[in-house]
Symmetry: C2
C-alpha cells in the first residue's frame, strides 16, 4: 500500500473523481467520500442522480444563455422585466450576484467567459454573435450594460463588444468602478482610486440611492 | 427568483446535494456543479457511477474493519505483516497516516469513532466487541497499540478499551505525546510540554530513530 493508494480500488476511484473538481485535493476528496459512505444508500443514490440529471437534462435559455429547465429562462419569460435593457455578464453566477442587488429589472446575456488569449479563449468561443443579433433587430434594445469583471480580460471583452455593436447606435454603459462601499481610502489601490476620481459624480445624484 | 434559488430546479437540486457534504457551502457547491456542467457527459456519468459504486459495492474488512474491496483487506491478508501486533485507530484515514510513516508493520483495528457523549457516541457504537474478541483468543496478540486522537474523547476511549482488555494480560501501549518534531518549546502548550517532561525518555534510546 503506497502513500497515495487506498486499500480499496473503489475508494481510490471515487476519491480520484472528487479530486478532479476545482479546489478539491485528494485529502478533501477522501473526507467527502468517507462522508458519503456513512450516509444511507438512498441519499447517495439521490446525490448521484442529481449530478447525472443536472448534466444531461439541463437547458440553456435560447435568448440569454442562462441555465434553465426550459427553452426560455424564468427571467426572459417574465413579462414584468424590461426586455429593452440587456445586461451582459460573464457567467450565470454573475446573474445571481446582480439579481441579489434587487437594483436591476432588465434581462441578461451570458457570454460564457471573457476574451483571454492566455487561456486560449477568443471572441468566437463566447456568445457574442447572438448578442449582436439581438441588438441588430431595429428598435428592440434601449441599452446594453456591460457588467464584466474589472480585469484586463474583462476590459478587453468590453472593448471588443463595444466595437462590434457601436454601429447600431445603442447606448452602451459599463458598471461603475470605484471605492467599494464601506472601504477606507488609504487601503484602496491607486488605479481604483484614480478611476474613482476621474469618474466622479455630482453629489446630488448619490442622494437617492 | 429569490436570492437562494437558481433559474433551474435541476441546478438547485444538484447544488443542494453538494452543499450537504461537509465543509461545502452553497457558493462552493454552485462552483462545483457549474464545473460539472462544462465537462463531457461521459465523465459526469463516470463521476456519478463512482459515487454509487463506492457506496453500494464497498466492503469492510471482516477482521479490522478497514475499507476494502474484498472480505479481508490487503493489510490483514498480507502474510509479511505482524498479525500479533494490533494498532487501534479511530478511522481509516488514520491507517493511511500510520502507513505513511513506514514505521509500523503490524495490523490494525478500526474503531469507527471515539466515545463522545456530546455526539451521542457510546462504546456500543464502536467496534470494541470485535477488538475484545480478537485479544481474547489465547496466545494470539502480543501488543495492543492505542493510536487514538490525543483529545478528551480519545483519552476516554483509550481508558475504556484498557479497562475492557486489561484482564487478558496483554501489553497495552499508546502513542507518545510530546513536542512535534521541528517545533520550538516556547510555542508549545503547557499540557503538551508538561507531558513530554513527565514521559521523558533515555537519550540513548533516541539515537537510532
Amino acid at each position: 500500500m503506497s502513500q497515495n493508494q487506498y486499500s480499496s480500488q473503489l475508494l481510490d476511484n471515487a476519491v480520484g473523481q472528487f479530486a478532479k473538481l476545482p479546489g478539491i485535493g485528494r485529502k478533501t476528496a477522501l473526507r467527502l467520500v468517507l462522508h458519503l459512505l456513512r450516509q444511507d444508500a438512498s441519499s447517495v443514490e439521490e446525490f448521484a442522480a442529481a449530478i447525472r440529471s443536472v448534466r444531461n437534462d439541463i437547458c440553456y435559455c435560447r435568448s440569454c444563455h442562462n441555465i434553465s429547465d426550459t427553452d426560455t429562462c424564468e427571467i426572459c419569460a417574465n413579462p414584468s422585466r424590461n426586455h429593452r435593457q440587456v445586461c451582459v455578464v460573464e457567467n450565470i453566477r454573475d446573474i445571481m450576484a446582480v439579481e441579489s442587488t434587487h437594483q436591476y429589472h432588465g434581462v441578461y446575456h451570458v457570454l460564457g467567459g471573457v476574451i483571454s488569449p492566455m487561456d486560449g479563449i477568443g471572441p468566437d468561443d463566447l456568445n457574442i454573435d447572438s448578442l449582436e443579433a439581438k441588438v441588430a433587430v431595429p428598435d428592440s434594445v434601449d441599452e446594453v450594460i456591460l457588467a464584466l469583471p474589472t480585469t484586463m480580460e474583462g476590459d478587453t471583452t468590453n472593448y471588443y463588444i463595444y466595437k462590434r455593436i457601436a454601429k447600431y447606435g445603442i447606448p452602451v454603459t459599463t458598471i461603475a468602478r470605484g471605492i467599494a462601499v464601506g472601504d477606507e481610502l488609504e487601503y484602496a489601490d491607486e488605479v481604483t482610486l484614480g478611476r474613482s476620481l476621474l469618474n466622479r459624480i455630482p453629489f446630488d445624484k448619490t442622494l437617492n440611492s
